[in-house]
Each structure stands twice: as structure tokens, then as C-alpha cells.
Symmetry: C2
Subunit: 310 residues, 2 copies
């Protein structure tokens, strides 16, 4: 799957991923109204609203991008009905030929990590039958529990030709509380980065490992160091756009081959229709998906410009 991701990035010339993190407050009124008319102001109605909203965005942008990253928390908050919308979204993105990164940030030990890996990336045996539950292509994973927590995910990835992005240095302001703590003069995130490189060493695709890392766009200097520590790991970079990261901050997350990173934007794309910039271009809530397409095009140009100047 890492080979597929690399090919798609080359083909689209867009090292970006659209974060499908649908807050109900982002969903335009006409979609909410239609969903509530059909299912009432219920969990089912909310799930229908976020699913229709996602579908509109995916239809508008799928030919421009290699991948999407649905954030499962935004679906989980609506319970079972929300999880059905998550599954529909994953399946629909697959139909549209997109790589799906499940932003699930799971992490546990032994058989529990194995169960998460099964649910999100693998298959489960029931009697004589085999099923796949959520079936994303990549999953994000938390490293706090160490190798015991990661290995069961790696095992499933090897079998399924899928992949991981392991949290190394996250984009949020307080990520340094633990991640930046100095151990023999070096921050914890560097040790985690070294482990990611180690875990990924025997999980190589053609040019990159399918065991990648998450490093926030809001920390470009750290990105530069981690790029060197993990030369063969793809880096998933959140924090672009709404969180403050800009194209010029991203340069050091990429390798000399122009690859090695994929930059996420969520709100900046899916709720682009609320931005003055796109309203000034005639966007209304009715054509919210057109705003998402414009925002994707702008993001691609911003990153291409920054990489061109590298």
C-alpha cells in the first residue's frame, strides 16, 4: 500500500491528504435539513448528514488527491450510527480509488493491539468465514506502550500490505510536555523516531517503509531532524492550514526526491466554504464542495511552490 500511495502522489503531484473530520457545525444547513427530515434530529440523522457532507466533498476532490484521512472520533461521538457513517465513508473513498488513512490513534498491548489491528487493517476469522471490519489502508498508532503495542499492528501490516503512521511529534501546543523531555540531552521524540525507523526497517516497499510517522507541521525544525532520523519513513504531517502551518514550513519534511511526506488539511478544506477568501469567489453553503476543490488546488499550489524553492 505504501507503493500505491507513492504512485498516487506522483500521479496527482499532490503530497496531500484531506482530513474528513466532519463536525456537525461544518455541515451546511441544506444537508442537515434533508437528513433530519428523513431521520429526525437523531444520531441516525446526524450520521446521515455527515455522510452526505463527506460524499459531496469526496466527489468534488477525489481526482486531485491521493488519499483521505477520516478522523474516527468525529464519527464515534455519534455512537453506532456514527461508526456506520465512518464505514460508508471508508468504503466510498475506496470506490473512488483513494488511499484511506484511518486516523484512529489506537494503541494497547499484545492481543488488544492485535484486535485493533484486525478491526482497522486486517481480517477476522469467524467459523469458516473471513470478514473485514473497517478495512482502512493505513492507521495512526500511539507509541507510548512501546514495542509490545506496535508489533501486533506491524504483523497485520506485513500480512495485508498495509501501513501505519506512528505518533512521534504531534502538532498541538502542549505536545512538548512529554515529547520534548530531554533524555541524555536529546528529546523523547527523537528516541521514538529512532524506534519508528527500526520498526520500519524490515517493512520496506519499493522506496519507502510502510511504517511511517506523524510529525506536526507546526514544528518544522523538529521535522528537519526527524526527516534525517527516519530517512525511509513516510511522514504524515498534520497542522497545516487551520492549525497555523504553511507551505514554507513543510519543506524539510520532504526528502531530496520530493517524496517522503504527505500533508494533511482538514478544516481548511472541508469547511473552506466558510472562509472569506472563497466567499469572495462566489461560494455559498450550497456549493460548499466547490470551495473544497478550490482549497485543495490552493494547497497543492502552496506546497508545490514551497518545494520548488527548496
Amino acid at each position: 500500500m505504501i507503493n500505491t500511495l507513492v504512485e498516487k502522489i506522483k500521479k496527482t503531484n499532490a503530497p496531500i491528504v484531506v482530513g474528513l473530520d466532519p463536525m456537525l457545525s461544518y455541515v451546511p444547513e441544506q444537508i442537515q435539513k434533508a437528513a433530519f427530515a428523513q431521520y429526525g434530529e437523531t444520531l441516525e440523522g446526524a450520521a446521515e448528514a455527515i455522510w452526505q457532507y463527506n460524499k459531496g466533498i469526496v466527489d468534488a476532490v477525489y481526482d486531485l488527491i491521493p488519499a483521505v484521512k477520516p478522523q474516527v472520533a468525529m464519527y464515534e461521538q455519534f455512537g453506532i450510527e456514527g461508526m456506520k457513517a465512518f464505514q460508508k465513508t471508508v468504503d466510498y473513498c475506496h470506490e473512488k480509488g483513494l488511499v484511506v488513512i484511518g486516523d484512529v490513534k489506537r494503541g494497547d498491548i499484545g492481543s488488544t493491539s492485535a484486535a485493533y489491528a484486525t478491526g482497522h487493517l486486517g481480517k477476522v476469522q469467524i467459523g469458516n468465514n473471513v470478514y473485514r471490519a473497517f478495512d482502512e489502508d493505513f492507521a495512526t498508532v500511539n507509541p507510548y506502550l512501546g514495542t509490545d503495542g506496535i508489533k501486533p499492528f506491524v504483523d497485520v501490516c506485513k500480512e495485508e500490505k498495509k501501513g501505519l503512521f506512528i505518533l512521534v511529534k504531534t502538532s498541538n501546543p502542549s505536545s512538548g510536555e512529554f515529547q520534548d523531555r530531554l533524555i541524555d540531552g536529546r528529546p523523547l521524540y527523537e528516541y521514538v523516531g529512532e524506534k519508528v525507523a527500526e520498526w520500519g526497517a524490515d517493512c520496506m516497499g519499493d522506496s519507502y517503509s510502510y511504517i511511517g510517522a506523524v510529525v506536526g507541521a507546526t514544528y518544522p525544525e523538529q521535522g528537519k531532524i526527524l526527516r534525517q532520523i527516519m530517512p525511509k519513513s513516510f511522514i504524515l504531517v498534520p497542522g497545516y492550514g487551520a492549525q497555523g502551518g504553511q507551505g514554507k514550513d513543510l519543506v524539510h519534511f520532504f526528502n531530496e526526491d520530493g517524496l517522503g511526506a504527505i500533508v494533511n488539511s482538514s478544516r481548511g478544506i472541508i469547511a473552506a466554504y466558510k472562509q472569506e477568501k472563497y466567499i469572495a469567489q462566489g461560494i455559498t453553503p450550497e456549493n460548499y464542495a466547490d470551495a473544497s476543490r478550490l482549497a485543495v488546488e490552493d494547497m497543492i499550489a502552496d506546497i508545490a511552490g514551497a518545494l520548488g524553492k527548496k
Copy 2:
């Protein structure tokens, strides 16, 4: 809810929690057969099997214990149908008067953590209506992202009078890879423990904070230190039984009042019917739930004995 948990522990004299982590391989054949006869060898059939298995165990032990801890990964691996079994299990345990600790180990930042907190502990507004999704009483949370990741959970807990157990020192062999790293001569888990105490300081119930910690039974010396660092935090202690922890290892996790810790056992209780010890007492797969009751009684006696000797 921390007050309820403390009261129930006092009433039952059992500082224990039963981990409802149903692997399909634990479910006795007669239950699997009945479920598959009704729903086929499908995700729905598997979900029915683990739900019926759980129900049997809960019916057999609910009067002896204060709380249960369903591990969501074991349900998530069966997709939507598995999550329905998770929800049924949570609801049924509530009907039986049990405190439910959702072992979900979620953790993200800002609005994403808020969405997880909403889904597992809080309520969601849809139009003019308010719903609760999974509605556990406590949730386990991963601290790697720092205060940004924890605060949204704490906010929901304050509003809902619910609680958290934050991973500090986990029970697995490789937990030390990152958690034991020395920062100015002290391991990372001590800093995390200090933060748990700080986050919990303005979240006090009558005698304990509702912001607790997870510290593995397999690390009793670390438990002793963390008990002192977090005197007002309840400690959820996994790793007893199947993972190797014994009653005598648990003494230092408790305060002088005999409270402050709750010890989890999963496989040792729910799959007790497979143990020689209980087979020798006449247990068969048909009365697996009786074995679980015997195992709970043995665990209570083991811990009471150890605490008595403190």
C-alpha cells in the same frame, strides 16, 4: 462517579474490576453454536456470541464486584456489530448496578479529544435533542499528546461527574522503552504521574480525585513511588493474574485507608473455566460462568489477604 466507585468498593469489600475482553476463542462452544445457528458464521453471529458470553459472566458475578472494564478493541474487531455488543454490554452492566470503565485508551488533541470524550462519557446535541452514545462512567486515556489531549476529557468529566484513568506505567514488558527513560535522573512515568496529580487536583470527589491513573501490577516498585506522587488519584491496576501480578505485589498501590486502587483481571476471570484449578472443582464449559464467580471470590480473598498483611 468516583464517590460511587469508592462506595461500591467499600460495600463489596472488593477493590477489583472484571475485564470484559471477550476473545472469540474464550467463548464456550455451546454459546458460539447457538449464536451461529441464529445469525450464521457472520460478524453479527460473533457479536451475539460475545454478548451472550458477557451476559452469563455479569449475571454470575455482579453482586460481588463494584465495576467492569470492557476492552473496546475486542468489540471493534467485529466492526459495527461488535460495537453494538459493546454498547449492549455497557448498558446491561449499568442495569446491574455496576460502574463501567471503558478501556478505550483514546487520546488526541482539542476538538478531536472532545469528540472522543463526548462519544464515551458525554452527550451530543443534535438539533433540539441530546443523546448519549456509548455512555461509560470512566474511560482510559493516553497521555502522549500532553494537556491539550487530556483537558477536553477532563472538561466532560467535570460536567458529567464521570472520570478518567490516564496511562502512566503500563503492565507490558516493553512499557519501559519510553516510559522508563530518565529525564534529569527520574523516569518519564513519574513526570506523567505528577501531571495526573495536577490535572486531578481540582477534580476532587469526597476523598479521591476522579482523574485516576493506570499503573501495571507487574511493576510494584514503581507503583509504590507513583502512589506517593499521586496520593489522591485512584489507580487502575492491570496485569494481575494472567499477566503475572499477584496479591502481594498490589499492597503498595493502596493507601493507608485501604483504598486508592482497583485491580483488574480479565482472562483470569472470564476464561477461568479453562483453568485446571476450576476444572478440578467440577467446572465444565457449560457452567463457565460459575468458574468466573469462583475466580472472583479467589481474587477477592487473595487481595484481602495481602492487604491484611500490609
